[in-house]
């Protein structure tokens, strides 16, 4: 059972995106596409032919697979409904962050590979964001890791109680900002934009089409759900099962669904009510988040909780 929990991420990640889109549409007074639309989009893309620029190298063709498998590997490390993580002993939270970084590295290379202006722009912006986001993520997770005495996410999830210390709350806020930046959402990036000059994540993908694009999109959905999952594992593990008994799993699964819906709602709410930030202002938001993360770590060290 625990060996297959990562399948939840693979299967349901497009659904989460569909739900976020639906909530956003409702907030804007539109009907919006159905919540299954991301699946239809993926199916459609898988059926399509590809157009690949003749100047691209192997990197362009390898990247979709690397990104996709890296994301699946990452999801194997993360406990979804039971803390008996599939491959929990194989990697911890640091490994996880670097598996993400691997995917991002190749994505940025692929953005540059075709030699188009927007790919390069997207890559350069993505790396700028990444440099700022990585330390935030590290520090906020470290706060939780130190209090749990382990960098293993499953272990953190087991130990984290219902009561929150100040350091956890600070770390949580920092982590939320990091998630927004990592998933390419407003106010950092606009996932719905058609304005190629403003794109970050989409800019890198502009050259992709057909099945490759489907893999990249799917990987992006998975990464989004994974980050949400890590957030609930570390900060709200309430309800997560520590064994693989049916009753525990059932409770854990329903708690998980509720948590995901809550996060989806929160994401849609932030995205609907805020305008995208000016690109050069973004470091100040991320800098602010970094200070929060640092404070949370200091608070923990000084106060011991």
């Amino acid at each position: 059972m625990e060996y297959f929990q990562f399948l939840i991420i693979i299967i349901f990640s497009p659904l989460i995106n569909g739900i976020i889109k639906k909530i956003k549409a409702t907030m804007q007074g539109r009907r919006g596409p159905g919540i299954l639309q991301p699946y239809y989009d993926l199916i459609r893309l898988f059926k399509k032919d590809m157009v690949i620029s003749s100047v691209t190298s192997w990197i362009f063709k390898a990247t979709p697979y690397i990104v996709f498998t890296a994301t699946i590997t990452a999801s194997m490390i993360v406990p979804v409904i039971t803390t008996k993580a599939s491959l929990g002993m194989m990697g911890d939270v640091i490994a996880l962050i670097y598996i993400f970084a691997l995917g991002r590295f190749f994505m940025a290379l692929a953005g540059l590979d075709a030699g188009t202006a927007f790919g390069g722009e997207g890559s350069s912006r993505e790396m700028t964001v990444a440099i700022l986001v990585e330390p935030i993520m590290m520090l906020s997770i470290f706060t939780a890791a130190i209090s749990a005495g382990s960098t293993n996410i499953a272990r953190i999830a087991q130990i984290q109680g219902i009561f929150y210390s100040p350091s956890h709350i600070l770390a949580l806020f920092a982590f939320i900002v990091a998630i927004i930046a990592e998933t390419g959402r407003i106010p950092v990036d606009n996932p719905d934009t058609h304005l190629e000059l403003t794109m970050i994540h989409e800019g890198m993908l502009l050259e992709y089409s057909g099945p490759y694009l489907a893999l990249m999109e799917w990987a992006h959905y998975m990464k989004q759900m994974l980050l949400f999952t890590i957030a609930v594992d570390i900060f709200f593990p309430l309800g997560i099962s520590n064994n693989t008994e049916f009753s525990g799993i059932a409770i854990s699964f329903s708690a998980y669904i509720l948590k995901m819906l809550f996060i989806a709602f929160l994401t849609a709410f932030v995205e609907s009510t805020r305008a995208k930030m000016r690109f050069f202002q973004m470091p100040s938001l991320l800098g602010w988040a970094f200070v929060l993360a640092l404070l949370s770590l200091l608070t923990y060290i000084m106060m011991g909780k």
């Binding site: 907030m27 804007q28 202006a117 722009e121 304005l195 000059l197 805020r274 305008a275 000016r278 690109f279």
Partner: protein, 523 residues
């Protein structure tokens, strides 16, 4: 003005508020410069005609208007004896630079002394030495096909290059990621900062001006209505006005009332839609959706009033086809509803710090540059130029209506939004004021005869700025030449200046704040 009149060989002809001043080649530049520098006049439009059929000459017309005087001063230069050059006025009057290049492309008349003689309207694949607006122009099948395919470079276009350490070029378009009109932009940037931007437009050349020639005056309305979707009605008002002025007819009070009312409704729906559209530039989805809903309400009102969402089919030469005042209650109730919604959404936008922060200090256009380039409409008023055709050359009922033309000084995106917001409120009060009165008269008067080879200007203030139609009749009761100048044509050259110094991701917002049409400036 006496200085010009006293010159040798000057012929003056008056027609309504148009004064045609025919000068010699040697005085042309001085006369234009005099009007521009001494009288602070605005270059409204500049164009050429091929009148070889009449008296074997090409003519260049430059139309100026002096602030505070309801009169157009039109300096006319005749080019005879196969000398296809004329003195360029671009160095004195920068606003003339596109007009002169257009004349070069379309008539093959060379503006001598123009600093930039690259092609403007015709693209690389269009055959050399082929000038479409000449009356004797023809094109071979092969040339036409190759032009359409755009593969062969017949007259290459060299983009300007910026050299320096760390400068790189970003070519954008003409095919964009979104479904928008085609336009090519070449950014030279250092990091994310725009150092220089060169647009290459005119991908949608449809030969509109050429089409007018030989159509009937009546059919011309349909074409004018379709030049620019967002300002269909303003275009047809300006076109009809030009033809009515040639024919020497005065439309009735009723027709004036209907035209004024619908012009303001058109302004209102555009301004509200444009303010919403700016939210798409900043990613504020709710603001965008609200703007779209309000705009849709007004467009449905248009549909109920006239049978056309874009107010087409209402104008005819000599008046209008429908008395929309009969539906005054429907207009009032929709406009009231929209006003409430609009005020709510403005409160939301102005209360959103993240949205306003993006608008302020983005895409600033200085008054000096705006003035030099002859920018018009919202963009001009946001930069502090108080120019509004409704005030400068009062027509229809505008001399009787109370309204202000709002100006801001900073010329940034925020200023352009606020000018729109204030004008929208102004339009709402004008609509209310118009509906309170009764207007007498028939819907339209009959046009008996259109005198041959005579011309007149028609104009209107579209939501984007002033539109001008200069129409000349031929001896068979058809248009001989129609020059149309849309506001986008004046404002496009200003967009690169507004973009300079901004960061690349802010350019789309900047561009949206001008909201110019690509097709609407490509005649």
């Amino acid at each position: 003005m006496e200085e010009i009149y006293r010159k040798k060989g000057v012929k003056i002809r008056e027609h309504l508020n148009e004064q045609y001043i025919e000068v010699s080649r040697k005085d042309f530049k001085d006369s234009c410069a005099y009007l521009y520098e001494k009288k602070h006049s605005v270059l409204r439009l500049m164009f050429a005609t091929d009148e070889r059929r009449i008296d074997n000459s090409f003519r260049i017309y430059t139309v100026f208007s002096i602030p505070g005087i309801d009169r157009f001063f039109i300096i006319v230069l005749s080019l005879k004896d196969d000398d296809f050059t004329f003195p360029s006025i671009t160095t004195e009057i920068p606003a003339a630079h596109w007009y002169e290049r257009e004349i070069r492309d379309m008539f093959g008349l060379i503006p001598k002394g123009h600093p930039d003689l690259r092609r403007l309207i015709l693209h690389d694949s269009f055959p050399a030495n082929s000038y479409p607006l000449r009356k004797d122009w023809s094109i071979t099948e092969t040339d036409l096909r190759e032009w359409g395919e755009g593969v062969k470079q017949k007259e290459p276009y060299n983009f300007m290059e910026v050299e320096g350490e760390g400068i790189y070029e970003i070519p954008v378009g003409p095919v964009h990621a979104g479904i928008i009109e085609p336009g090519h932009f070449r950014f030279s940037a250092v990091g994310e900062t725009i150092v220089f931007l060169e647009p290459r437009l005119f991908y949608t050349h449809k030969g509109t001006e050429k089409h007018f020639e030989g159509m009937s005056f009546f059919d011309g309305i349909k074409l004018a209505e379709r030049v620019s979707g967002t300002s269909s009605f303003s275009h047809s008002v300006a076109y009809c006005m030009a033809v009515e002025r040639i024919a020497g007819i005065e439309i009735t009070e009723k027709a004036k009332g209907v035209r004024t009312l619908l012009l303001e409704i058109e302004r209102l729906y555009n301004h509200i839609g444009d303010i919403g559209n700016m939210c798409a530039g900043t990613g504020l989805a709710v603001g965008y959706a609200k703007g779209a809903v309000l705009k849709e309400n007004l467009m449905q009102l248009n549909d109920r009033l006239t049978g056309s969402r874009y107010l087409r089919g209402i104008n005819v030469i000599g008046g209008v086809t429908k008395d929309v005042f009969l539906q005054a209650d429907a207009i009032l109730s929709t406009v009231n509803d929209v006003t409430h919604g609009y005020k709510d959404s403005m409160r939301l936008l102005l209360g959103s710090a993240s949205h306003i922060e993006r608008l302020e200090n983005t895409g600033g256009l200085s008054k000096d540059i705006a003035q030099k380039l002859g920018v018009t409409g919202v963009a001009a008023r946001a930069s502090g130029i108080n120019d509004d055709i409704r005030k400068a050359h009062p027509h229809l009922l505008y001399d009787r209506l109370e309204f202000e033309s709002h100006t801001m000084t900073k010329g940034d995106v925020f200023a352009r939004m606020m000018v729109r917001a204030e004008e929208a409120e102004c339009s709402i009060s004008m609509i209310n004021a118009l509906l309170e009165n009764r207007y007498e008269g028939e819907l339209s008067v009959e046009v008996m005869e259109i005198p041959e080879y005579s011309s007149a200007i028609g104009y209107a203030e579209t939501p984007r700025g002033s539109v001008f139609y200069w129409v000349m009749s031929d001896n068979e009761g058809r248009p001989f030449r129609v020059k149309l100048r849309s506001p986008s044509y004046c404002n496009w050259p200003a967009v690169p200046f507004a973009g300079q110094g901004n960061i690349v991701p802010d350019f789309p917002l900047c561009n949206k704040s001008f909201n110019l049409s690509y097709s609407g400036c490509d005649m």
